[in-house]
């Protein structure tokens, strides 16, 4: 009953005109960003962060705006997958497999509305999962000391490495690079400057927002420039037709949606997995389970419902570790963590006891946003398909300029803009080399608290480093971390190879 009472309070917070308007704005922008190839949830949220700061929003309203964008992007990705066979963002890549064949058969409208319903079911179930699971996780997290937190951070990096790249060494490189970048600046414990090379601007450390916008948004601009894909989608394919799925189709897909919602949620909660993996395993499992007549891949409605329910559920699931432990499981939740940290709110167990208004207001807003998205995505889907026609030669300059404005608006210094350009170039080169960017972001975000926990743990035990492996809890975390890193070395290659096979050049930032 506790939970329902808190949820009620949450609705009290979320149901103000301002918050409703923000949720609506976020849903709308999110759907657009998801639908446009080249803008995914992580860079979409990244370029909107400055907007939230500019508007002078508090923690709850900013989070409502940005998580609405996140949920919206999960909805929007399917639109271009189905109509154009180009995933609008990475989690939507599996939707191409059956969505586009359906559209070719003249059932684009049915595919869009069915996937809209599936997205709704996935997100709805996942939000309930978040409500039920996060407080339990908080109870465990309250037992954590510094040594356990250090192990938890290590676990996050190692399992992220296991899933996010085809090459473990490159994930480890990315994580180390991010952590190394985080050590730049004045050491928080002793006050000595580190790696600043006498540059005053670096004493504060690198602003992770600058790194995020550079790595995600600007590198995308460079990728487009390199390929000179300035055109727009072929408009003749965008015929939609009937907008409501027949009841029989919905009925046939209901078991699929329910199963994949649960599966996607679990995949989302796992550290390092995120929505792309959620949609991938949802589709694969459904294919094994119900595809008796081998119709998957030829426009089977269940093949549209499965990945869409899966990726939306995973998006909700990925919020669980971010809110309860302060360790994000995916690229977009890492960006959301950056928002929280910039607002001086530390997620983790204390968030639930000290800022319950933030947590429950956010959860209530997720429910509201989900209904808004359902309403927006079925009757109004035609509007979004028209936005798909904006050519990237117009879109990309806007993305670049909004990134610059946002960062300049936060700091007002040209130095930060130069750092951002540097990160953009770095992101472009690393993406060419197939180095995942998410561990870099995670490293710059978590680096300081990882180091602080390490030093606290060792200092408490009078300089004994073995204290890191002292308690059963930390040993357990280390064991999971090692398994999570080693296991994909043996089994992961195949899964990842087939997952990355469908990935396109643009918009290939993992979520």
């Amino acid at each position: 009953m506790d939970i329902l009472a808190s949820l009620g309070d949450g609705f009290g917070i979320a149901l103000t005109w301002q918050n409703l308007a923000l949720a609506l704005l976020g849903c709308f922008l999110g759907t657009i960003m998801g639908a446009l190839p080249g803008l995914g949830p992580s860079n979409g949220v990244a370029i909107l962060i400055p907007l939230a700061f500019t508007m002078g929003l508090g923690a709850t309203p900013s989070l409502i705006l940005l998580t609405s964008v996140y949920y919206g992007a999960m909805y929007g990705g399917r639109i271009s997958s189905i109509l154009l066979n180009i995933p609008g963002d990475e989690p939507a890549m599996m939707t191409c497999l059956d969505g586009h064949p359906m559209a070719k058969k003249g059932m684009a409208g049915e595919a869009l509305s069915l996937s809209g319903v599936a997205s709704f079911v996935g997100a709805f179930i996942a939000t309930w999962g978040l409500i039920l699971l996060a407080p339990q996780l908080v109870k465990i997290a309250l037992l954590f000391g510094p040594a356990e937190y250090f192990a938890l951070f290590a676990l996050a990096f190692m399992t992220l490495g296991g899933v996010s790249s085809t090459n473990q060494a490159k994930s480890a490189f990315a994580a180390a690079l991010g952590l190394g970048l985080a050590t730049i600046g004045v050491d928080t414990q002793t006050g000595v400057p580190r790696f600043t090379f006498g540059e005053v601007h670096l004493y504060d450390g690198l602003d992770f927002l600058v790194a995020i916008v550079g790595l995600f948004a600007l590198s995308e601009v460079f990728i487009f420039l390199e390929n000179r894909h300035g055109g727009n989608a072929d408009g003749s394919k965008l015929k939609i037709g009937k907008l409501y799925p027949p009841m029989s189709m919905l009925k046939a897909c209901t078991p699929t949606m329910l199963r994949t919602s649960v599966l996607g949620f679990v995949a989302g909660v796992l550290p390092g997995a995120g929505a792309s993996l959620g949609s991938f395993i949802s589709y694969s499992m459904e294919k094994r389970l119900v595809d008796k007549e081998k119709t998957f891949g030829t426009g089977d409605p269940r093949g549209v419902a499965a990945p869409e329910a899966g990726n939306n559920a995973a998006a909700g699931g990925a919020l669980v570790p971010m809110l309860a432990l302060g360790v994000p499981g995916s690229g977009t939740t890492a960006v959301l963590l950056a928002v929280l940290l910039s607002l001086n709110i530390t997620p983790g167990p204390l968030l639930f006891s000290q800022n319950p208004d933030v947590v429950w207001g956010l959860i209530a807003a997720l429910f509201i946003a989900n209904f808004m998205l359902l309403a927006m995505n079925i009757p109004m889907v035609g509007l979004f398909t028209r936005i798909l026609m904006v050519p990237s030669r117009v879109l990309m300059p806007i993305v670049a300029m909004v990134s610059f404005v946002g960062i300049y608006g936060i700091s007002g210094s040209s130095f930060d803009l130069l750092v951002m350009i540097g990160f953009g170039v770095m992101g472009w080169v690393l993406r060419k080399l197939d180095v995942p960017l998410v561990p870099i972001i995670l490293g710059t975000l978590l680096g300081n608290s990882m180091e602080n926990n390490l030093r606290r743990a060792v200092t408490i035990d009078n300089g004994n480093w073995l204290t890191l492996f002292d308690s059963p809890l930390s040993l357990g975390l280390w064991a999971i971390a090692i398994v999570g890193f080693v296991l994909p070395l043996f089994f992961g290659r195949k899964v990842k190879a087939s997952m990355h096979e469908r990935r396109d050049e643009e918009g290939s930032i993992s979520d």
Partner: protein
Amino acid sequence: MSDRIFGVVGILLAIAFAVSALAIEESFLSDAVGPKAFPLIIAAVLGLSSAAIALRPDPEPQWPALGRLVEVGAAVVVMILYAELLPVAGFVIATAFAATYLAWRLGSGLLGSLATGVGTSLGIYVIFHLVLGLSLARGPLGF
């Protein structure tokens, strides 16, 4: 080959990182671990993973042709100029130029690029500055 070069660069980076970590001046008031230990651990991970990348390279990525590389390089130069000239020229003018350039390089026609550039600049100015009140760089003309 790319991965081998990348790995070697990574190892050099790790060594440089470790060397500058060792050069950190310790303050007389230090905790049991000190400011050097964590960076040294990071340098070790960085070095080991770079070595692994160099020893077991992935298939060669697709590098763009020289012309395209110049394209990206030119865009970087334009962005750097933008960052430097923003406080001098003012937001609206600088942004209009940079956005026009990007639109042109992404394949817009002359008029189209100009329209995109000016439109982006004015649009951002109206939304972010006039409506939302974000302080943008002020040029000599006051905008």
